[in-house]
Symmetry: C2
Subunit: 128 residues, 2 copies
DNA sequence: TTTAAAACAGTAACTGTTACTGTTATTAGT
DNA sequence: ACTAATAACAGTAACAGTTACTGTTTTAAA
């Protein structure tokens, strides 16, 4: 891979680094436009995909039809609120016992699994 | 909910019952057209959504950008092959230990989780 | 510097899905 | 059986998120 430096890409990565809420491409676009008013949504998508491909960030799919992006590439679980759509990290250990269990009765090679949790976040959960 | 009977819906459900490979809306469309040549893709989507809403079938999201549908609504895990996109059931127990563990350090209410596995299926995994 | 190519902005196209519109099929009440 | 109300239909347009194309600009190696 023969990458060239780009200020737009820097800016996208820099923005992601400031956020812990796993923004979507569109949110990235909105924000990076403050530094690069002419940046194209295509550029944002291209760079998010590239950064994810080289492992600088990770792309997260949570069943809401939109891709989220995370500067934190360490393995951890996510929670998505069914009410407000907010995404949160979970403070919880990641194990490979699930993958091992799955491999037991399965021919073929299981390489990993995707897990995310859903429900009501603290804000949306009715207090009582 | 005040449902009326429809032959198209029957046919969609009937087709799904014959398949264990979790077809997409488009696959359902292709097949049901053999009995109903004029059926509309919109009708297929509408009925799949309706059937899923009333719990007759389940809708499965596996991160490949397409919805899959399953006649088997009992809780079980799925595997998706990164190579051919094939979807398979896993013969493996479903527990709620994950949900409990996730709830530990999380304010708000965790209602459930989605888990699926990926890798190479038996056909796509290089033999040796 | 010059120059090859990576990256860009802008925009069109594509995919999966949902919504709209006027017509047909179903079913409950006579 | 007939009628009337409406669920469901076919066909098609619209929509959202994402990817691909085109001609121009930026980067960085020679």
């Amino acid at each position: 891979m023969n990458l060239k430096h780009s200020r737009q890409r820097d800016s996208i990565l820099e923005f992601l680094a400031t956020r812990k809420d796993h923004p979507t491409a569109d949110t990235v676009y909105m924000n990076v436009r403050q530094s690069f008013p002419n940046i194209s949504l295509g550029t944002v998508y291209r760079n998010l995909t590239l950064l994810a491909d080289i492992g600088e960030i990770s792309r997260i799919r949570l069943g809401d039809g939109v891709d989220h992006f995370d500067y934190d590439t360490s393995p951890h679980y996510h929670f998505i609120c069914s009410e407000c759509g907010g995404v949160f990290d979970l403070n919880m250990e990641v194990t490979d016992t699930l993958t091992k269990a799955a491999q037991e009765n399965f021919e073929g090679k299981i390489e990993g699994h995707v897990t995310y949790f859903y429900g009501r976040c603290n804000n949306c959960n009715p207090k009582h």
